[in-house]
Symmetry: C2
Subunit: 489 residues, 2 copies
């Protein structure tokens, strides 16, 4: 049976909840008196539909039905889950709960998105306080998994149901053991926000400099390990206790405007060290380092593909590495066009390897695809040319996997042009580690108009360059493996 | 000419600097009286060699030469860059600079890795104070790009040279305009560290819960946008000024133990809003949202491939999505084995598309590779079987790209077994969006022993399952496109 979620308050947060439930197959009823609510939630939904389903390797359920309700009672009457995301004013929230509870099932979960209030405060004047819990999400709610779940002694028994429902929509419930103002994560955000305001106020740094100080450094660490697992590594072989003993004294320095610090008693140090053992003790420090590095490589390479943040720094460095002209960019850079042209020269990234411990088959094609891009560049199919509306699309590919290769190995691809006539570009790539032939890739590309998405003739200068290379490569003869079909010798 | 860097202090930080310089082609001279220094730096170098080169799409320069020196004078005498990473004691650092300056070139850069001291403090008793700057890195130094550069009025003119050298080794220098205790990033780390100690001290959260509160939520945001660009989006269409006006009052709440807050004067609000415009104003809020989402999808999917943090949450959700048995896991799940077997059913992730706006060619092979993995699972080549030493490796692949597909589209792959005799597994995958045929993939796999890495017979139950499917699929006939070579109709 399709479950029903009521969304009370449809701003950025409520809209994110609506998207999360809807795309996980729940029916969603929204109540928000804002006349723009429908448009705003529609925009959040568009973003969610473009991003969330592709996170999974399975299809998500069929979307539920989205209904905008005229009254709160209509929204909540048959809801199993009621998510309140109205502005952070206690009196307003309490009033909303009174209206909700006049119309909802006594078995429904009433969850508040509040970032500041404790559940006991929210329960204050309620008819059935035991229905009300805190489920504090993080923007964008449709992508980020964290939900802080806080209950009181009145309804600690709800935790299991709440966790189950949240996991069913792909979230990560973090149960906060004792209620506290701002729960856990927002206390950190608040501490950093205050410090940032001081830095701007005192003219030390701009908003941009502060963001760079975060995303070029510890932001990347925190996305995968958080604070303590990171510091466990920093403690090195001597461990967490050593780290605290070494850096604990720094806490007494005037590093922030905000100075009250708990005393580092033996008990506190013991608590931290043993909790850290429980959390990360199954890995040695060396193993943690390798996990950290592989995580960082994967994340930074994904940012690199988007030319964003730390990934843009990598792209800039690529340009300076290539100034040594290791891989040609123009036909004039090619010393001897009668020989296969080097189109790739690089190390195998950690994130190109798979459960078999070697480079994954799809990454061979990624390298061959990059080699094709480089050959296109060399014959004049530049980013400017592509922006003007022409490009080559791959129509057909034949790969022979001849030997394995592992992370860190330096590979190169040498490319022979078999045919460059008309709309066709017929390439044969050979991938090597040193003298060892790892794979070959035979590719037929067709020049297309990016407007019509149909085959079209390339610009004359590209046709000329391509046929010149093809003619120069004719003397090389047909490479072994070219023109063969799968399973045919 | 090869440049020379001297590393004074070879712990985790000094070792990271050594790796960064060395892999970027510099000669490196290390001085550290610790008898374990050589082993420790060797371990850092192993990690760096495995991770750093693959971040780039170009080869790095040939590694420089690493020398361990008996004396500081030997290490620094011909160095262009001298990186000091000794323990955080001012008197010790000042003594080290005196020794360094007795032997180094007056033109060398003397950079301190200090996280706490201001450059004016470091320059205090130096012979040539104008040589000394702060270049504060972040662990792991060989991967994270951020370096905080701080000078004094004595040597602000060095900034350009320092930035140039740091960029040449792939780093992101952030010049701190005014010297301040702990520079910028560590003030944030310190604020969060204090708050974390309180949470543990007061029994609110464990180290693990704190780390989850970070890495499942705002850590992912900060890895790509930092604090202010994230909040600019949270302000929505009303912008940064609205965000501050809405959330500014929360600063007066008792959310942390650390309460001193600058007054939100009009001047401060103006400064923040205009700095944020300068930083991010070239994007609309909607555009920023889409960049954020695409960054998050890429990073979370890279963590998913490693089954780590937020990525492990995605894998868990995949399992629950598949409990609806949308894609079979065992031969018994297949309703009709005389028909092609569904082996993929999923949405196209944002990070699978490329500059042409459609799914990148390598991702077709990734999907076909996943389909092959699923077919292997169905015939009994399970993770347990692979752990016991047998698997299939792809020997040959032929892909025909027949139509385009875009991010968010739901694709499926149906798989026909052409041959399953002996060591061979000959598959034909067809990829569809609805009724539209997008591509076909023909694959020859060979069963191998993971110990010898050579062809071997599969276990009898796998051979039996595979031949049973192949026999059932014989009635389907040879699919169009099977057995063909590139460029041959």
């Amino acid at each position: 049976m399709t479950q029903v979620a009521a969304i009370i308050g449809g701003g950025v947060i409520g809209g994110g909840w609506a998207a999360r439930f809807l795309l996980n197959g729940w029916d969603v009823r929204v109540f928000d008196p804002d006349p723009q609510a429908q448009r705003k939630i529609g925009e959040v939904l568009d973003n969610a539909r473009a991003s969330l389903p592709g996170l999974y390797d399975m299809p998500m359920p069929a979307e539920g039905t989205l209904t905008f309700c005229e009254t709160m009672s209509e929204a909540v009457s048959d809801a199993h889950w009621i998510q309140e995301s109205v502005p952070e004013r206690l009196e307003l929230k309490r009033k909303v709960y009174q209206t909700i509870q006049a119309h909802c099932s006594p078995d429904a979960i009433i969850a508040s998105s509040t970032s500041g209030f404790k559940p006991s405060e929210l329960q204050g004047c309620a008819t059935r306080p035991e229905q009300i819990v805190v489920c504090h999400p993080f923007n964008p709610v449709y992508l980020l998994p964290l939900i802080e779940v806080v209950t009181t002694e009145l309804n600690a028994d709800l935790v299991e149901i709440v966790e189950g429902d949240l996991r069913a929509i792909g979230m990560f419930p973090l149960v906060v053991k004792k209620e506290i103002d701002a729960h856990i994560a927002d206390r950190f955000l608040e501490a950093v926000w205050r410090e940032a305001l001081w830095l701007i106020n005192d003219g030390i740094a701009t908003t941009e400099e502060i963001d760079e100080a975060i995303r070029m450094g510890f932001g990347l660490r925190w996305a995968q390990m958080g604070l303590f697992e990171t510091y466990r590594i920093a403690g090195g072989e001597a461990g967490m206790r050593h780290f605290i003993e070494q850096f604990g004294p720094a806490l007494e320095w005037p590093w922030t405007k905000l100075m009250d610090v708990p005393e580092l008693t033996d008990d506190l140090i013991d608590a931290i060290a043993s909790q850290s053992d429980a959390q990360s003790g199954r890995y040695s420090i060396r193993e943690l380092e390798r996990h950290r590095d592989a995580n960082l490589v994967g994340m930074m390479r994904s940012l690199k593909a988007r030319n964003w943040g730390a990934g843009a720094v990598l792209n800039t460095h690529d340009l300076s590495l290539n100034q040594r002209a290791i891989v040609p960019e123009r036909l004039e850079d090619v010393a001897d066009i009668s020989q296969p042209i080097k189109t790739i020269d690089r190390a195998v990234p950690i994130d190109w390897t798979d459960y078999n411990g070697h480079m994954n088959e799809a990454r061979y094609l990624q390298a061959f695809g990059d080699a094709t891009d480089r050959l296109m560049l060399i014959v004049g199919c530049t980013p400017d040319y592509i922006a003007s509306g022409g490009s080559y699309f791959t129509a057909e590919t034949h790969i022979r996997h001849l030997d394995e290769v592992h992370a860190g190995a330096r590979i190169r691809v040498e490319t022979q042009v078999l045919n460059g006539e008309g709309k066709k570009m017929h390439l044969f790539h050979a991938m090597y580690e040193g003298d060892r032939l790892l794979a070959t890739g035979e590719h037929m590309l067709i020049h297309v108009s990016l407007e019509t998405r149909r085959a079209s003739d390339p610009a004359p200068q590209i046709a000329e360059a391509l046929t010149r290379v093809a003619a120069a490569h004719e003397g090389l003869g047909r490479p072994e493996g070219a023109g063969s079909a799968v399973g045919v010798r």
